[in-house]
Every structure is written in structure tokens, then in C-alpha cells.
Symmetry: C2
Subunit: 404 residues, 2 copies
């Protein structure tokens, strides 16, 4: 099996992630921060080590200002809903994932928050001047993905950070598609809030994610509950990280995440980025010469976090993905990728989304060649493919009318 769905979740994980998670579960998986016994302290120490390694990895400060969440979606919801109040204005890009779009639309509908979604160029990249031009007196948050999940395009995050900083507006970055291979420097990029998933480029398991919160930013928690501290207080304590980490943490997951970041440090983040860049450059090279294949991702080095988004004339993306899966055992993702505005921005909604090939560190040149060959075969015989375009066909169960 060839796995090109790393933008959904990375697979496989480094061996150390498997072994450290198993060791944690078997040897010391007590409740961290909930007891004073030796095993609980060992678990708490493991969690603290992951906080510390992540703080260093993103050039962030105090590890205690990193909160662990179940995924990047929770981190983004905490950052967005914890920041904005009725009457506030927020700027985001049209390339944001539904983990940003849906909370914003909810606040717009229910809480009177004003939202501006910025369109970008042919790949969706916004310009910093466009961000500056849309700042209002009541702009209280700027949200930007570091790289779009649909086509991998990078956003000019450092430049937007400069603008946000100049206007004193908190800057939230969604690191979902970059964290792990892309250089994310919290301080240099003038980020105030960085949401990240654990299970993508950072090589942790699913069930992990987090939010780095710069000093001075106070977020209202979405959850209240036991924090293991200040137990006699029936109100939520205000000290980080507990204030935003109610309930038992995912200790084995966080240990796995720490192992994942350790692996990146061992290999070298730049080497991972370079490897991915080589793979997508080769994909671009070959796919761009096929007359029936359209590419929606930038081939410019440094402009793509590892995604090649394409369509093949005459055949809807979900069916290309299905053929790749069934006939070649190649795992990809097709459709709208939980980013409705991104597709509108790029203009291919009507075609049923795009086929996304997302590469990871464990992909090889041979896998790329095999996949290019498969795509060329499918494109060459696309006129013969009997599938029809069904925008509301369920590609998961085949029976219901949900669209993906």
C-alpha cells in the first residue's frame, strides 16, 4: 500500500512513537497531576517533557503556556471563541479549514461577530497588504493557516504577523498543515496563538493537539472541570495550563507526540522539508505535462507544504481516488477537504473538489513513480471511465446522500 494521505494524518509513525506509547501504557500510565504517587509523577513528568520539547521546537517560551487538546480543531475553537466577543471583527482567509470557518460562521450567526474572509491569488495565497487594508477599528483577531490543506499553499505568515503586531491585534496561526516540516518560529513570526495537531507532521498519534498561548493573551475556557489542582474551588482555576485542560489528559498520546517531535529533531526538520519538496517537485514535473491533468498546487519551492492537488479531465476526483485505492492500492483523499471557501476561491467546486496527494517523510521516490504511472494510466483512459459526476454521492458507504 502506498499512503499519500499525510495531510489527513501521517502514516506510518516513527518506531519510537509506537514503542514509547506502548511503554507508557504498560509501565506508567497513571493519571498525571491527579495524585502524588510515583507512577502519577512519572506520567506528569512525561507530559511536562512533551510540553518542553514542543516549546523548543516552535521557539515558544514558557512550556506551561502550551495547552494540550484532543486535536487542532479544539485548539482553534478555544483560541477563536476564547478571544472574540459580540461586536468584534475578525480577518481570516478563504483557504481556512472548516475548523476555522465553522467556529467563525457560528460566532457570526449567534454572537454578532463580523468576519472578513480574504481571497488570494490563483493558489489562494493572500497578500499582507490585503490583510492590512481590511483591518477595522474593531478587528480583534487575525486568523491564518500556515499552509492550506487543499493544495498546500503557504501563506505569508511572518509578514501578516508583522502587520498584526503593528496594530496590536492578536494573531492566530493554524499550523495543521505545516507543523513538523515547515519552520514555524513563534517569536520571529510574531504569532500570539499557534494551534497544532499532534497526529500530522509532528508524528504523534490521533487524539493529540495543542495551543501555544503568548503571555498577555487570556482565553475563556470552553470546558470547566477537574484540573487536579485547586480542588476546593468550585470555579475554574485561572492558572495555565490547567485552566484550559479540564479532565484527564491523553497521557499515552502526549507521550507519543513527544516521541514524534524527538524523532523530527533527530532527523532534522529541514531534511524532512527537503525530502517532501523533492517528492512534490517530481510529481509536478511529470503531472504538468499530461494534457488531461490540471494541477492546483504551486510548484515553486518554499510555496508548498507537501500537497499536490489535481483533477483529471472527465472524471470526478472522488472516483480517481477510488480507482487509485481499488486498482493500485494507493491511498489519497478527494472531495472538498473540509474547506468549502478554499474550493470556491480556487474555482473548482463544480468539479467535485480535487484529488489530493499529500506526501510525508516516509514516502519514497519509488512510491511517487508508481503513483505517477497510475495517474497517467487513469488519465489516458479517462474517456472510458463509466463513473458519473455525482456531487452528493456518499463515497464512504455508497448508500446515503452525505457528501464528502
Amino acid at each position: 500500500m502506498v499512503y499519500f494521505d499525510n495531510a489527513s494524518t501521517s502514516y506510518p509513525k516513527p518506531e519510537c512513537v509506537y514503542t514509547e506509547m506502548d511503554r507508557c501504557l504498560r509501565e506508567y500510565c497513571a493519571n498525571p497531576g491527579r495524585g502524588a504517587h510515583a507512577m502519577s509523577r512519572t506520567a506528569a513528568q512525561g507530559v511536562a517533557e512533551t510540553r518542553a520539547i514542543i516549546a523548543r521546537f516552535f521557539n515558544f517560551g514558557d512550556p506551561e503556556r502550551i495547552i494540550f487538546t484532543k486535536n487542532a480543531t479544539e485548539a482553534l475553537n478555544i483560541a477563536i471563541k476564547g478571544s472574540l466577543r459580540r461586536g468584534d471583527h475578525v480577518i481570516a482567509t478563504m483557504m481556512e479549514h472548516n475548523s476555522v470557518v465553522r467556529p467563525l460562521i457560528e460566532l457570526e450567526k449567534e454572537n454578532g461577530v463580523e468576519v472578513t474572509f480574504l481571497a488570494g491569488d490563483m493558489y489562494g495565497e493572500v497578500t499582507p497588504s490585503d490583510v492590512a487594508a481590511n483591518i477595522r477599528r474593531n478587528t480583534r483577531l487575525i486568523v491564518c493557516t500556515i499552509s492550506a490543506n487543499t493544495n498546500g499553499i503557504f501563506m505569508p505568515v511572518a509578514e501578516i504577523g508583522n502587520i498584526a503586531n503593528r496594530y496590536g491585534i492578536p494573531f492566530l496561526v493554524d499550523g495543521s498543515q505545516g507543523a513538523g516540516s515547515v519552520d514555524i518560529d513563534f517569536k520571529a513570526m510574531k504569532i500570539n496563538l499557534l494551534a497544532f495537531p499532534g497526529h500530522k507532521g509532528l508524528f504523534g498519534p490521533q487524539g493529540t493537539g495543542g495551543l501555544c498561548i503568548s503571555p498577555g493573551i487570556e482565553l475563556k475556557p470552553l470546558l470547566q472541570g477537574g484540573t487536579g489542582s485547586d480542588s476546593e474551588n468550585p470555579s475554574q482555576p485561572q492558572v495555565l495550563p490547567e485552566a484550559l485542560e479540564s479532565g484527564t489528559l491523553n497521557t499515552p498520546g502526549i507521550i507519543g507526540l513527544g516521541a514524534g517531535v524527538f524523532f523530527i529533531n533527530q532527523v532534522g526538520r529541514q531534511n524532512i522539508e527537503d525530502h517532501k519538496q523533492r517528492l512534490i517537485t517530481r510529481m509536478h514535473e511529470e503531472l504538468s505535462i499530461h494534457p488531461k491533468i490540471h494541477i492546483y498546487s504551486s510548484k515553486e519551492p518554499g510555496k508548498n507544504s507537501g500537497v499536490v492537488a489535481i483533477n483529471i479531465d472527465g472524471i470526478v476526483s472522488t472516483h480517481v481516488s477510488k480507482i487509485l485505492d481499488e486498482q493500485y492500492s494507493i491511498a489519497t483523499r478527494a472531495g472538498l477537504h473540509c474547506a468549502p471557501f478554499a474550493h470556491k476561491a480556487l474555482g473548482y467546486t463544480a468539479k467535485g473538489g480535487v484529488l489530493r496527494l499529500s506526501v510525508g517523510y516516509f514516502n519514497t521516490q519509488d512510491e511517487v513513480e508508481f503513483t505517477l504511472h497510475a495517474l497517467q494510466e487513469i488519465a489516458d483512459r479517462s474517456v472510458d471511465v463509466p463513473y458519473e459526476l455525482k456531487t452528493h454521492q456518499c463515497i464512504q458507504c455508497g448508500a446515503c446522500s452525505r457528501s464528502f
Copy 2:
């Protein structure tokens, strides 16, 4: 090491939990519900199987009305905040954990929700008639733990369910301390919302939990985000489970949880309950005759989910726990147990909480005898123990002033 901290998180887990999680991570841990390729379908099928086995285990109906959360705290927050509006009244007990108390106090302070916390008998058990007597015209939710985490006392959940049902008031049960060993029959107990942790009695890993939602109950989500479905819709879809499961699920954790429930079914839930009952009966038998030991848990069979809460004259609970840990390698938890009102109800706050011995299926009679012997030794020499009562001493780092 002897582990008597199962009420915090169960340890160890059954072997099948370790092996199935590792197998999932290594072999098929794609993103469930986010792609149509074979590995994603396998992951989705594994998640669906856990939903199904849990639905059967609790005699619940449609598995699709079970949502997975990161812990019971998230499930309780979704149930409470998703149900209550300004001006509503809610009834809870004083034995609730902070995962119930803190969301309710937050709603009381910020959203004008009225809350009644009911006191119970000497063990905190409330009477159904007290619940009925406190129902108002605007009562919109009754919340009750199935068993208190401080001392294990059972609440008359079936009777309260009958009352709630008669008045048409949604009934939320916190299954944190019962689920797995206690018979929780969703339909027979007339429960409408059942929150459960995955990592305690159900033997799953940390990072898992869930909420069973009866038909007719609609909850407003706390998070919006990608659901893998209805991608072109910038608003949250309303269909369960996706509506309340934004972002990537904890697939390996959910697989482990399924394996945990499978293990319970193999052993027999009643056998687990009986085993735990035997252990706490023996503890009661021996501890109740020591003049310096006070027991705060019921010894009546069927009245205790597996907790023996005690104090030893002249020595604060956190220090008994410390001695047990350091000198006997016995893991327990002491202090307030994230349940401030429970301790007030039971009247031992001033003593710095209680020492909690919480048993699990993997504990043995020998471990109980060894622990009883240790406690007797500590109690016998308690006058010589140099520790002082410091209610605000941090028992985790020893340096800060946080209380636990």
C-alpha cells in the same frame, strides 16, 4: 507496586487493549471518516465497532447517537452546556465531581442558570423524594453521578430516572465511577444522557470518553469544525455523531476502548463487580476495627463502586498517601479529589480531604492484605509522624502553594 488509584484511571489495562492499540497504530491508523481509501475505511469500521459494543454494553439504542469525546469532562460539558439556557434551573447532588460542579457554577455566574445542589445522608446519598421536592417549573436538567468519586457511594439513579421521566426533565448521569463494573442500563434507568470516561472502569486508554444521547435530545455543540461530511457547508452539520465530533477522532484510543469493553464482556461485568466488592468488604472488615481509622465509605453491598475513603487520626490524608507511596510502594490518592462540595457534605474538608483506596479488577486479595498491614502500621505509629497539616501545601512539586 500496588495500584489502588483506579478511580483516577485504571491500571493496568487488559493485554488486548495494549495489543489492539499497537496494531491499530502500526497497521491501519488512517483518519476515519476522512477518506474513502481502504485504510481509512478500516479505521472507520474500528470506530464503528467500538460505538456498537458500547451501545450494547449500556443497553443503549442507536450507536450513531454515541459521541466520542476526549474524556468524561468534555462529555459532561457538552451535555450540560448544550442543554441549559438562561433562566433554566438544574438539580445536581453535592457529591458531583468538578466536571459537573464547575460547568454548573460557570452557567450560574455567567448565564443566569439556577442550580440546586442536594445534600445526602452521611455518605452523601440523596433521596429520590428530595429530588422530586426540588423540581421547579423551570427545571430543565437533573444531573447525578452514578457513584461518587470521593467515597464510592451509589446514588439511586433508577429512582431518580423515574422521577425525571415523570416530569419530562432530561436526566444526565455521570458514569465516571461506575461504568464498567456497575450495571448501567440506559433504558431501564430512564437515562437521557450518559457521560462516561473510557480510561477508568471500561479499561480503555486515557484520551477517551463519550456521551450517549437519547433520541429527542438535541445538544448545541461546543466545538465546530471539520466533520469529514457535508464539507461544502460552512455551518456545522446537524447529524449525529459528526455534529458533536469535530476534528480528527482519537482512533487508536477508541480501538483500545473497544478492546476494553470486549474484555469486560469476556470476563463478565458481574464478576468484576463481585471481585471489587470482595476486596472492599475485606478492607472495611479490617479497617473498621482500628480505633484511629475513620471510614467514609459505605460497607453495605451494592452501595459502593469500589472506593474505601479513610482518614487516620493525627495525620493528614496527603501524608498517609505519601508514606504509602514512599515506604510501601502503594499508589493511592489523597486530598479533595476534585469534588469540593462532596467533602463539605461529608464534613471532613478541615482534615485536608481523605485518603482514597480505589480498587480494580486486577487488584488481588494479597495486595489488599499488604495494604491493610501498611495502614495499620501507619495508624499505630501516627503519633510519631512529624508531618503537619498544611492544607495548601503542594503535594506534587512541594514548592508551590497549589492545593490538591
